[in-house]
Each structure stands twice: as structure tokens, then as C-alpha cells.
Symmetry: C2
């Protein structure tokens, strides 16, 4: 499991020991979120050295694994700071996590956010953002950022798409202008944005999809991955003072052999992390989990794994149990704008009449920034069309997701992830909220 790239990829002892002894290990407390418990106090000297050494030398270190599932607690060190995994990344499509001020993202304890290459390329343009100091300088967000490749948005938003070996020809959704996005251009745009993690340009096949098409598409995605890698090798893009990381995207639709093939081909090319793409495109939940299960065994355990664009709170926990480390989803902010708040008892539709005189906060675990407001008041704001309603629900839902993954990390660290997952899902699914 020692990386080919030598000391700069020094394999964390934690993972090796954790895997061999089959139990969770002491959590490195140096950057741990408040509330974490130390699991044992042995080998303190070794851990002290590791705590200082690991973040300087490796991108990703596994700190603890769950004995009863594939869940893992780790740390990913990026150019703009460290990220604890499993992590949820709030989505800032156009350089803003919808309705929120960056100071509120800090208040939420967000560790990494996502930006969309397609949107930012079209407006305001990557050259403008480069001139304004990259996406970090432009938006003022100084913690890690991940950018997607634009491939998914070309697929889901643009019109008159035509996929060729060169790239994707399309008409953009803003003014209908004909454009061409290629693997090299996607890398160039992401280099201009200066994100900590750039995603490789892929083709996302639809669901349902013939096996022959999925195989052909997968082969194209691999060839594009090679072109992305060539561009990166030639241009060595930076993020702040560090190196920009690059994650490959496993495709293969619902076909186990194709998922395996895609994973093997990408791993052969050796990227900094691997995403599972082509999920949450209309397939049943069971298919989604199978896509994860079909890919994860072929991904190196010492690299972060990212399930793109997912999912509901129970789905997040199910995927953590299957060994996924990173998540992003527009759901918490999008459903907020439709009046839905996540609670431990399931989703709550704030527009419902039953909340008209409900003096309680949205949820017993609400963040103080929101907990002072009654359901009654938030319902009123929502009905009256006040922007504050969208702000409060968006903030609340992101807090709910960030607490969900923080709870998962804590649970993995103390070897109690299965209990955490099962208890959460049981209560969540017994929802009695109207």
C-alpha cells in the first residue's frame, strides 16, 4: 500500500495498523473537531509524531476504520487546509453557497465547498476569476474548494449536445452560444479557478443505458482521463501555495464489470482520489448503492473516495458504510428554498398549517444561529416571501448535513458507526412530521 510516489505519499501507519488489528485507533486530536473523544492513550509519542508529520507529507491519512463496515475516518490535507472525512461539501455553484455569506459557512464549520466549472466558465468566465485571484480570491472563501469538470452540467443543462472524441459540442443554457468543452479546456478552467481538487472531464451516461453504450462511454472517459493527466503533467496547476489535486471519475452505469474496468483503468493512471459518477441520475436507490459497491473494492484504500451529487441523509450514512469519504449535494439548500427542513425525525414542511403557532425551533439540534426562531415565525417568513426564510432553512439544512457527517466521524472513531447509522435511520424513517 506504499505509494509509488515515495515519501511525499508516505502511507499512514494508522491505516495499516487499523486494518491489521481490526479495531479503531486513537484519534489524532491535533485538528480534531470539538467534542471528539480520545479512544485510548497508548503510543502517545508515535501519535504525536504522526500528528505533526502526516499532514505535511501525505494528502490523505486514514485515522480510524469501522470494525463492522467499510466506514473510515480520515484526514485529507489540501492546499487551503485539512478536511476531516467523511465530509459533506456544500455546493457553491456560481461562487456562492446559495443564500449564505462566507462568514456563515465558517459558523457552520464547513471545511470544503464545491464550485461548478460549467457555470463559472460561462459567467463570469475563468479568465476574469483568474485575474481576481482565483476562486478563493474572487469569493473570499479561504478554505478548501473542489471544482467539478463541467461534464455533468453539459449533460444536464446544455442543449444540442454532440459528443465527439475531441470533447462535447453544445449550446449553453444562458444565451444559446455554441461551445466546445474538451478535457484539456476543463483542466485549464479549473487551473484558472485554482481549486484544491479538480475533477477529471468525463462522460456521464444516462439511466437507463444499454451496456454497449456504457462500455463505449467508459472507454471514452478513460481516454479523456489520460488527456487530462497529460495536460496536468505539462502544466502543473497550483492551488494557493500548493499543488492542485486531481480526482478521476469511475463510470460504467449499472454494470458491475464496467464499474470494475473503469476503476482499474483510472487507478492504473494514478490520481489523487477517485469519484464514483453516473449515480443519482434517475436509477433506483438499490442500483445506486450497487454502483458504489461495484467500484469501491477496486479503488486503493489509501486514496479518498467521493460519491458525486448524493444524497438524502440516510443515503449518506449508507454510503459511508460502503467506504465513501466525500459527498456533495444541492439537496439541503434546494429543498430549503421549497420550505423543507431536515430534522432528526425526518423532513419537515414548514409551510404546513400545523406549524402556524408552533413555538419550537425547527429541530432540537438546531444551530444557535437558527434555534432562536420559532417554526411559527419561519413559516410566516416563508409564506410572506421573505428571503430570511430561505437563509434560515438553508443554514439549518447545511448544519444538519455537516452534523450528520461529524457524528459519523465521531462514531467511527469510537467503533460505534453501525449503531449511529442504524439509530439515525430508524428515527429518521419513522418520521411523523407533516
Amino acid at each position: 500500500m506504499v505509494s509509488k510516489q515515495g515519501v511525499m505519499k508516505f502511507r499512514p501507519i494508522t491505516c495499516i495498523v487499523a486494518n491489521s488489528c481490526g479495531r479503531s485507533l486513537p484519534v489524532i486530536r491535533r485538528h480534531s473537531p470539538p467534542g471528539y473523544r480520545a479512544v485510548c492513550d497508548s503510543d502517545l509519542a508515535m501519535w504525536a509524531i504522526a500528528a505533526i508529520w502526516l499532514p505535511l507529507t501525505v494528502s490523505f491519512s486514514l485515522l480510524s476504520t469501522d470494525p463492522a463496515s467499510s466506514a473510515r475516518f480520515g484526514r485529507l490535507v489540501l492546499a487551503h487546509g485539512a478536511v476531516d472525512t467523511p465530509i459533506f461539501m456544500p455546493v457553491g455553484t456560481q461562487g456562492s453557497v446559495k443564500t449564505l455569506h462566507p462568514a456563515e459557512l465558517e459558523l457552520l464549520g464547513a471545511q470544503i465547498i464545491l464550485g461548478n466549472t460549467y457555470h463559472l466558465w460561462l459567467r463570469p468566465g475563468h479568465e476574469l476569476i483568474r485575474e481576481m485571484g482565483g476562486l478563493h480570491g474572487f469569493t473570499t472563501w479561504q478554505k478548501p474548494m473542489l471544482t467539478d469538470s463541467g461534464g455533468f452540467q453539459v449533460w444536464s443543462l446544455a442543449k444540442l449536445r454532440k459528443i465527439t472524441e475531441e470533447g462535447v459540442h453544445f449550446q449553453n443554457h444562458l444565451d444559446g452560444m455554441r461551445m466546445l468543452l474538451t478535457p484539456e479546456l476543463s483542466m485549464e478552467i479549473q487551473a484558472a479557478l485554482g481549486s484544491d481538487i479538480a475533477m477529471l472531464f468525463d462522460e456521464c451516461p444516462p439511466y437507463p443505458c444499454e451496456e454497449a453504450y456504457a462500455a463505449k462511454s467508459l472507454a471514452l472517459t478513460t481516454r479523456w482521463a489520460r488527456r487530462c493527466k497529460d495536460w496536468v503533467s505539462a502544466n502543473e496547476p497550483r492551488s494557493g501555495d500548493g499543488r492542485q489535486l486531481h480526482f478521476g471519475i469511475v463510470q460504467g452505469s449499472v454494470f458491475a464489470e464496467l464499474r470494475e474496468q473503469s476503476a482499474r483503468e483510472l487507478v492504473e493512471l494514478d490520481f489523487d482520489g477517485y469519484a464514483i459518477g453516473g449515480v443519482s441520475v434517475g436509477e433506483p436507490e438499490a442500483e445506486m448503492f450497487r454502483a458504489i459497491e461495484n467500484a469501491v473494492p477496486f479503488l486503493p484504500p489509501d486514496k479518498p473516495r467521493y460519491a458525486m451529487g448524493l444524497g438524502s441523509p440516510p443515503q449518506i450514512l449508507e454510503m459511508i458504510a460502503r467506504g465513501v469519504d466525500m459527498f456533495d449535494c444541492v439537496m439541503p439548500t434546494r429543498v430549503a428554498r421549497h420550505g423543507v427542513a431536515f430534522t432528526l425525525d425526518g423532513p419537515l414542511h414548514i409551510k404546513n398549517l400545523i406549524y402556524a403557532k408552533d413555538a419550537r425551533p425547527l429541530c432540537e439540534s438546531s444551530h444557535p444561529h437558527v434555534a432562536g426562531f420559532s417554526r411559527s415565525y419561519i413559516r410566516h417568513l416563508f409564506r410572506a416571501g421573505e428571503i430570511l426564510a430561505l437563509r434560515l432553512l438553508s443554514f439549518h439544512n447545511l448544519h444538519f448535513y455537516l452534523r450528520l457527517v461529524a457524528g459519523a466521524r465521531e462514531a467511527i472513531a469510537i467503533g460505534a458507526f453501525s449503531d449511529y447509522k442504524d439509530s439515525f435511520i430508524r428515527r429518521y424513517n419513522q418520521s411523523e412530521n407533516p
Copy 2:
């Protein structure tokens, strides 16, 4: 100038001395905003006593008057706290200052905000708000609040209005239901809201308006004021732990004699403060100033004066110079939602192409909550339809207005108001901002 009501209306020495010696007096520093300068250090003992005694005993105390104009610096003590005047009141029509969180109003140093009786009566209803702890409990805003009477909104928003001696019959603008608003009901709704200051129910004549109609309307407003007073005497409405104050509204359109008559009749009824209404209803700016000038001389100097629904930054200073103490206006938040930021060099239209790569903040005096963002980024957010753009511009514009009146207070305290006003207006009107 000693009030008829005895010790509870003890006339502040400050005003008397200030008026007699014709110069500004030492500022009572006890609750002064940061940055205020002491003007002289004589009579410290007297001031120390006054600083403690005045807020406990009087609603309004004049701390300093401008030697060269009618501008005055004062303090209004309300049930939920003290307010320094001249003051600008951000408008929270539906129980929310548009786009902002109450914590941001605190950050802005807002001392008092406004709520609209008409809107809150229709939705969510004053009985619901009473059950939820009044407007303070409902919204969580714990500092002073003023509510208008609903009269202006019935005039400007509702349909099929019919004014009778009893009140105003109308169809509301939400669902067209036929409703009747009377002086007693307006007082009852405002009592349920529990605002610190309630406005009397008046009729606001249009512009232009025949003198005969204005005279008839004014007489009705006076009769309604008497009915409001009777309701208040019988019901003694509260605000938090204190008494709710009540302000009469001077009408009379553009007719000097009618303004005088209205002021005299209301003063005879003895209210806690007086507003000048029926301004900013389409008349030229000079007529607006004349309406103020025609009313102020007949209002008692020891009561606060409030110009309703006004105005641009230079207009605010011109009215402070004419002896007005309180202002509210939707302009800062409304124009923000159309992409306009106030700056010392006049309004700035952020959508303009010239700001596409402008790395500067909106204004050299921007609040830190906004100053970190470039014009380029805010322009992008605005073009991309991101709510954060509305938030940043709304916050910035309210900060601009609150700084404007804070600067006026400082200037009055050191006897430099005319310089302050003239310098501000000169620079503002030489605007070169596109």
C-alpha cells in the same frame, strides 16, 4: 417647556441650557456610540447626574443643538432601550428587514426598526403575533420597534377604498377580502404587536390635492387622533415592561395654514411625539421640505419629530437641519434589490460593465461584513441571480444610512453639523459613479 405631566416628563436641562447659550453642550457619554468626542469637560458632576437620571425619567432628552440650523442631537428612551437621534429606522415590513438576519442588524448597530401594521395584521395576523410574544417575541428582535398605523398602506396598497367617519373600508391586496380599518382597531393591532412606538391612524391625502379636500381630510385625521387617544387611555397598551408611546401624524398637504392647524390640534391632544405625514407622495422635493418647515415650528421642542418614509441621503440631512429626529425609508433595501449601492460619491449601479473587474469594495467606508468583497464579485453575484448579492447590497446601504445619521449626531455634538451636511452633499452630488 416643562411638561404638564410632571416629573415623569421632567424637561432635560440640556435643552434649556443649549437653547439659552446658543452653543452645543457636552455630550452625555454614558451610552454614546463609539467614536464620539467629548466637547468640553466642565460641569462633569451635573452631567454625571443627568446621564443617570434622564434616561430613567424622560422619554426624550435633547443633548445638543446645532447653532447654525435646527438640527438636534437627542436621546429617546423606549421600553426596549434607548435610541440616539437623529436616527434612521430600517424597515421590517413583514417582521423582517428584507434579506437580513437580526444578528446582522445588531452588527449594523441598528437601534430601532419599523414594522408595518397593515401587512402584519393581514399575515400572519396580530392575534397570532400576540400569542407568540408580540412582535419582539415573534421576530426575536429585542431592541425598540415602531409600528405604523396601517393608514398609509391602506392608501397605497389596498383596492376599492372607501373612507367614512368610522374608518377605511377596502379590499386587501392579498386575497381581495373586504376589510375595515378603524382608529380603534389600528391601536388594538399595534397594542397586540407591542411596539415601543405606535403611530396614530390618519388619512394621507394624495398629491396633488385640492385645499378643500386637504382641510376636510385633516379634520378627519384630528377626530381619528382623538379616538385613538381615547382607546389608548382606556386600554393603556404596553410594550415589554414599559408603556407604549404614541405619535400623532401632522397632515395638511402643501398648505402652510393646514400644516399649522394640524400640528396645533395634535399638540393640543398631547402625544409622545409627532410625525410629519403626507410627504414623499409624488410632490417635488422643495414642497417636501416646505411641508416640514410648515409643521416643525408648531411642534414642541421637547418631543421627537419623525418624517415618515423619507428619503435620499441628502434629503435626510436637509430634514435633520430642519429639526427632524427620526426617519424610515425602504429606499436603502429596495434599491439594493435593484443593484444600487450608496457611496460617498453617490449611488453606484453594480450591474454596470465598468465594475466587471473592479477589485475595490463598494465604498471606502464599507462595513467589514461587506468590505472584503470586490465590486467585481458582487456584480457577478447580482448578474447570476444569487441572493447573497441582495444581502450584501442591503446590508451595505443600511450601514450607509446608519453611518449618515451617526455622523450627523457626532457633528451636531461638536457644533459642526452644517459643515458635515454641506461636505457630504457636495461630494455626493458630484457623483461620477456610473
